[in-house]
C-alpha cells in the first residue's frame, strides 16, 4: 500500500516549552509544533490564514494560539479561526510516544509537494 504512514521523530516533548512552540521545516512547508499547558501537542502549518504570520511565535492559551501579527486566534483542536475572525490552518497528524513527538512524514510530504 502506497498510503502507509511514515512516523518520524520530530523532537522530544521537553524540547518544546509549555505554552510554547517550535518550528520544523519539511521542504517548503513550515510547521508549528505547539505544546499546551496540559502537554497536548498540535502540529499546524506555521502560517496564519490572515496575513501569513508565524503562529509558532504566538501566545498559547488553553488550546488556542494568538497570531503575533494581528491577534487572530486559532483553535488548535479544529484549526479554525475563532469568531469573529474566519479562516483555518492545515493540521497534521502527530503523536506522543515515550516522550517523543512523532509526525507522519508522508502526510507532510504530500502537503509540501
Amino acid at each position: 500500500m502506497a498510503q502507509e504512514n511514515n512516523w518520524v521523530e520530530v523532537c522530544k516533548l521537553e524540547d518544546i516549552p509549555q505554552r510554547g512552540s517550535r518550528r520544523v521545516r519539511t521542504g517548503s512547508l513550515q510547521i508549528a509544533i505547539i505544546r499546551t499547558h496540559e502537554d497536548e501537542v498540535f502540529a499546524i502549518e506555521d502560517k496564519c490564514p490572515h496575513l501569513g504570520g508565524f503562529l509558532s511565535e504566538g501566545i498559547v492559551h488553553g488550546s488556542q494560539v494568538t497570531c503575533p501579527l494581528h491577534n487572530l486566534v486559532i483553535e488548535l483542536k479544529t484549526g479554525e479561526a475563532v469568531a469573529p475572525d474566519t479562516g483555518c490552518v492545515k493540521r497534521f497528524a502527530i503523536k506522543k510516544e515515550n516522550g517523543n513527538i512523532l509526525m507522519d512524514l508522508r502526510e507532510a510530504a504530500r502537503e509540501a509537494a
Binding site: 518544546i16 517550535r22 520544523v24 521545516r25 492559551h61 488556542q64 503575533p68 509540501a112
Partner: protein, 814 residues
C-alpha cells in the same frame, strides 16, 4: 402550511415555552392556547405580594392580550379541555368543540391538595393557587376576622403573612414538628417560627386537623386533640398534586405525574408535557426554575434543535415574606459521611448551615443573611471541591482571602456562569453581555431583554449591581471595561486585588479572581505578567510564555517573520568603534536594511531568527546592549548636544540624557516610555511630546510629562521646575514608578494622566516629598532585578530553543 401546535394550560410553564420558541425566531407553528382561567398568563409566584397588598394583579401580568396578538397566538380563555382523540389528533373541550393538532403540549400544572376531611367543602375554605383564591382571601380579610392556614410550608407561610398584613388574626397549623420542614432544618425553622410569632401570627406545630367546623360557612377547625380554633377563613396550603386528569383520560403513561423523557415527550411522541404536571426522573417539581428549564428544552426541540435535553434540576427556595431572609438548596438530611458546618448567631437572628459530603457542598440553609445564597448554589451545582476554603466557607464569599468586598465588588467577582436569576436561569455572563450588546441602562431593560428578575424579583438588586459593575457608577457605558473576555474585572480591580490578596503568580490570579478560561488569552496574560512583575520585584518569576513575541525574542518581529535589532545608543551618542561593529554585523549576517530610528539610534532590519544570538554576541562584544526597542518599558532618551557644543545650550543635556537612560533602562512599564532632554527652550530634542521630557533652562530644569506624538498628538504637562540633575533623576524615577504602579497595561503615560488626573500626579510627585522619595527607592529596588542585558543572557545560552529551529524533516519521496 403551518403545523398546528395546541397547548393546554396557560400557566407560567406554557407561557415561557412560547416565549422561548418565539425568541428563537420560530414561526413554523400555528398556536392555539387553552387556559382554564378566564385571564391571560400572570406571574403566579407573585400572588403573595398581591395578597399582602404590595402589588396589584395588573403588575404581575406576564403576557397581556396584545402579546398574544403580536405572536398570532389564539388564546382561548376559560375553556376546559376534557379529552384528547389521539387517533384523530384533536383535543375536545367540555362543550364538545374539537381542535386538531400536529403537536400537543399538556401544561395542566397542578391542583392544590385539599384534605378530604369533614367540612372541606364549606364556604370560606379556600386553597392558595390562583388569583381567584387570592380574591376570595382578600374579600374574607375585609372583616379583619380570624383565619386559619393549614400548612406551614412555603405557600402557607406566605399566605399567613399576607393575611396578617391585611389585618387578620392568623393561626398557622402545621402537621410536622417544624415549619417548612422540606426546605429547612430544625434550627432555621426555630428562628423562622420565632420571627413569624413575633409578627403576631400564632403557630401550632404537630397540629393534625381533624375537621372543619360550620354549617354552611366555616366557623373554625378542630384538631385531633380536641383543640378548637375559631376562623371565618380557612386556607389549605398543604401541597400540590400534578394535574394529570387529561393525560390519564387519553391513556398516556402516568405515575404521580405525566411521565416524560429528557425531551419532555410523553408516551405519545406527538404529545409533550411541561410544568408541574410532569414527572421526570421520578421527580415532580413545584418551583418555577425547573419549569422554565423544561420550557426551554421543549422550545428548542420544537425548533428542531434536538440536542437540548432536560436533565433534572437542583432547586433552591426563597421565602417571599418581607423582612424574612431565608434560603435553602440541596439536601441537608443527616446521613453517614455527611458533615455539617454551622454558624449560629441567635441574638442577631443569623443561622447558616452547610452540609458537606466528600469535600463537596450538598446542602445549604441560610436564615437571616442570605446574600451568599447564589454563591453557595453555584458551588453546589458545580460540585466544586471545597477542601481549600473549608475553614472560611461558612463566612461566605467575602471572606475567601483578602479584605471584605462591598456587595457590588462581590457581584463583580462572581464568575460568568454564576446564576443571578434562579427563576429564569439567567447567569451573570448573559446579563453582562446583553447589557453590553444592547446598551442597556436600567433594571427594566435588563428584565425585558434577559428575563432576569422578571419572575420573583428577589434578584433585582443583583441585577442593579451588575449594571453598576458593568456600566460604572454613573451607569455610563464607557466607564467600565473588563480587561478581556476571560474576566469581568477591570484592569484597576485586577491590580488592586493582586495586592490585596497577595497574588504572586498568573495561575493564582486566575484562580482567585475566577478567570473564565484556563490560561487566559493573549490580552490578559501579558498584562498579568506585567502587573505581577511590577508588584513583586525580585519575587515574581517572569513568564516568558506570557510575553508578546517581541519581548520574548528581544527583537521586533517583521511582517515576513524576520526580526529587527536595535542596540542601545545612550542618549543618541555613538562612537566610530560602535558604528564599525554595527557595519560588520550588517555585512556578516547579510542584513538587508540599516536605518536610523526616530529615537536616535540604528535599526538593523531583516535579521533571520536563528541569527539573532550571533548578532547579539557580536554587538555585545563591541560593548552594546539591547536597546529594548520592542519593550513595554524604557525605549530611548533623545537628546540635543547641549551646552558642550551649542551656543544656546544652558545645561549638559546630552550628559543628563545618558545619565537618565543608564538609570532607567531595563525597567518594564505598562506601555513604552520615551524621554527627551533639550538643552534650551528651543527644544531641539522635542521633549514636549514625550512621556517624560526635560527642558534645560538657565536656572535649572523644567520637567514635563504626559506628552504624545503617535496615535494621538499631545503636548506635555508641566510637572515642576527643579534646580539640580539629582532632583531631575529623583522626580523622573518617582513619576515612572508611580506610573508602573498605577498604569493599566498598554496605557501610555498621557492616558494614565488623563484617567487619574494631572493634578493628582503632581500632588503625589511634587508636593509629597516623602512619597516621592519612597517611589524613587522602590524604582531603584526593582531595577536591581531588571537591569540585566537580555542579549547577554541569550548569548550565554538562556532559552536557546527559542532560536534554534528543529532539524528539518527529510523530504522523503513518497
Amino acid at each position: 402550511m403551518k403545523k398546528k401546535l395546541v397547548v393546554v394550560g396557560n400557566g407560567m410553564a406554557a407561557g415561557h415555552m412560547l416565549e422561548e420558541l418565539f425568541d428563537r425566531g420560530n414561526d413554523e407553528y400555528e398556536v392555539t392556547l387553552f387556559g382554564a382561567e378566564p385571564r391571560v398568563n400572570y406571574n403566579r409566584i407573585m400572588l403573595s405580594p398581591v395578597l399582602s397588598g404590595d402589588k396589584t394583579y395588573e403588575e404581575i401580568i406576564i403576557h397581556d392580550d396584545e402579546w398574544y396578538d403580536t405572536h398570532n397566538v389564539k388564546l382561548v380563555k376559560g375553556v376546559k379541555i376534557t379529552s384528547v382523540d389521539r387517533e384523530a389528533k384533536c383535543v375536545i373541550s367540555a362543550d364538545g368543540d374539537k381542535t386538531p393538532y400536529d403537536k400537543l403540549i399538556i401544561a395542566t400544572g397542578s391542583n392544590p391538595f385539599i384534605l378530604p376531611i369533614e367540612g372541606h367543602y364549606l364556604e370560606g375554605v379556600v386553597s392558595y393557587r390562583d388569583l381567584d383564591d387570592v380574591n376570595l382571601m382578600l374579600d374574607a380579610s375585609k372583616g379583619k376576622g380570624k383565619a386559619v392556614v393549614i400548612g406551614g410550608g412555603l405557600l402557607g407561610l406566605e399566605a399567613a403573612a399576607g393575611l396578617q398584613e391585611q389585618g387578620m388574626d392568623v393561626t398557622v397549623l402545621h402537621l410536622m414538628p417544624t415549619l417548612m420542614d422540606r426546605q429547612l432544618d430544625s434550627a432555621a425553622a426555630y428562628l423562622l417560627q420565632a420571627e413569624i410569632e413575633r409578627r403576631g401570627i400564632t403557630v401550632i406545630t404537630r397540629a393534625n386537623t381533624e375537621k372543619i367546623l360550620g354549617e354552611d360557612k366555616v366557623e373554625g377547625v378542630q384538631l385531633d386533640d380536641g383543640t378548637k380554633i375559631e376562623a371565618e377563613l380557612v386556607v389549605m396550603a398543604v401541597g400540590i398534586r400534578p394535574n394529570i386528569e387529561l393525560a390519564k383520560e387519553c391513556g398516556l403513561m402516568i405515575n404521580r405525574g405525566i411521565l416524560v423523557t429528557d425531551h419532555m415527550q410523553t408516551s405519545d411522541p406527538d404529545i409533550l408535557s411541561v410544568g408541574e404536571c410532569v414527572e421526570h426522573g421520578s421527580e415532580c417539581y413545584g418551583l418555577v426554575a425547573p419549569l422554565y428549564e423544561m420550557a426551554k428544552v421543549i422550545a428548542a426541540n420544537l425548533d428542531g434543535d434536538m440536542d437540548a435535553a432536560y436533565k433534572g434540576s437542583v432547586t433552591s427556595t426563597k421565602l417571599k415574606v418581607t423582612g424574612i431572609d431565608l434560603f435553602s438548596i440541596g439536601d441537608f438530611s443527616e446521613d453517614e459521611g455527611r458533615e455539617g458546618i454551622i454558624l449560629r448567631d441567635a441574638a442577631g437572628g443569623v443561622y447558616k448551615r452547610l452540609v458537606i459530603s466528600d469535600n463537596k457542598l450538598v446542602g445549604v440553609v441560610l436564615y437571616g443573611d442570605t446574600q451568599d445564597g447564589n454563591w453557595y448554589s453555584q458551588i453546589l451545582k458545580e460540585e466544586r471541591d471545597i477542601s481549600e476554603m473549608r475553614e472560611t466557607l461558612v463566612f461566605g464569599q467575602n471572606f475567601q482571602g483578602g479584605p471584605p468586598l462591598d456587595p457590588t465588588a462581590a457581584v463583580a467577582a462572581l464568575p460568568d456562569e454564576a446564576e443571578i436569576c434562579g427563576c429564569n436561569g439567567v447567569c451573570k455572563g448573559k446579563i453582562v453581555s446583553t447589557i453590553n450588546e444592547k446598551g442597556l441602562t436600567s433594571v427594566d431593560e435588563v428584565k425585558a431583554h434577559t428575563k432576569a428578575s422578571a419572575s420573583c424579583g428577589t434578584c433585582a438588586n443583583l441585577v442593579e449591581q451588575l449594571l453598576s459593575v458593568t456600566l460604572g457608577e454613573t451607569y455610563n457605558p464607557d466607564a467600565a471595561k473588563p480587561m478581556c473576555a476571560c474576566t469581568t474585572l477591570e484592569h484597576g480591580d485586577v491590580r488592586r486585588l493582586i495586592v490585596a490578596k497577595q497574588l504572586k503568580s498568573i495561575p493564582a490570579v486566575m484562580q482567585e479572581l475566577e478567570w473564565s478560561t484556563a490560561w487566559g488569552c493573549a490580552k490578559c496574560r501579558p498584562a498579568l505578567n506585567y502587573y505581577l512583575l511590577a508588584e513583586w520585584p525580585g519575587e515574581y518569576v517572569d513568564d516568558n510564555q506570557s510575553r508578546f513575541v517581541n519581548e520574548r525574542m528581544h527583537a521586533n518581529i517583521q511582517k515576513d517573520g524576520t526580526y529587527s535589532v536595535v542596540p542601545r545608543m545612550w542618549g543618541g551618542v555613538t562612537t566610530a568603534a560602535e558604528l564599525r561593529a554595527i557595519a560588520d554585523v550588517a555585512d556578516k549576517f547579510n542584513i538587508p536594511t540599516v536605518k536610523v530610528t526616530g529615537g536616535q539610534r540604528i535599526d538593523l532590519l531583516g535579521v533571520q531568527k536563528e541569527d539573532l544570538p550571533k548578532v547579539w554576541e557580536d554587538l555585545n562584544s563591541a560593548g552594546m546592549i539591547s536597546g529594548h526597542a520592542y519593550a513595554k518599558g524604557l525605549r530611548t532618551v533623545k537628546t540635543c548636544v547641549g551646552k558642550e557644543w551649542c551656543r544656546f545650550g544652558t545645561q549638559d543635556s546630552t550628559g543628563l540624557g545618558i545619565k537618565l537612560e543608564k538609570i532607567l533602562w531595563g525597567s518594564w512599564a505598562p506601555a513604552k516610555v520615551k524621554l527627551a532632554v533639550s538643552g534650551c527652550p528651543r527644544n531641539c530634542a522635542e521633549a514636549t511630546c514625550k512621556d517624560f521630557g526635560v527642558i534645560c533652562v538657565d536656572s535649572g530644569y523644567e520637567l514635563h510629562f504626559a506628552g504624545a506624538a503617535g496615535l494621538d498628538i499631545k503636548g506635555t504637562e508641566v510637572l515642576c521646575n527643579v534646580e539640580t540633575e539629582d532632583e531631575v533623576v529623583e522626580y523622573c524615577t518617582a513619576l515612572i514608578q508611580l506610573y508602573r504602579e498605577q498604569g493599566f497595561y498598554l496605557e501610555r503615560i498621557y492616558k494614565w494622566a488623563k484617567r487619574v488626573g494631572v493634578e493628582k500626579i503632581q500632588e503625589q510627585i511634587v508636593e509629597d516629598e516623602a512619597l516621592r522619595k519612597e517611589l524613587a527607592r522602590k524604582f531603584y529596588f526593582a531595577q536591581k532585578f531588571l537591569q540585566i542585558d537580555p542579549w547577554r543572557e541569550y548569548v550565554e545560552g538562556k532559552d536557546a530553543h527559542e532560536f534554534k529551529p528543529l532539524a528539518p524533516l527529510a523530504e522523503e519521496v513518497v
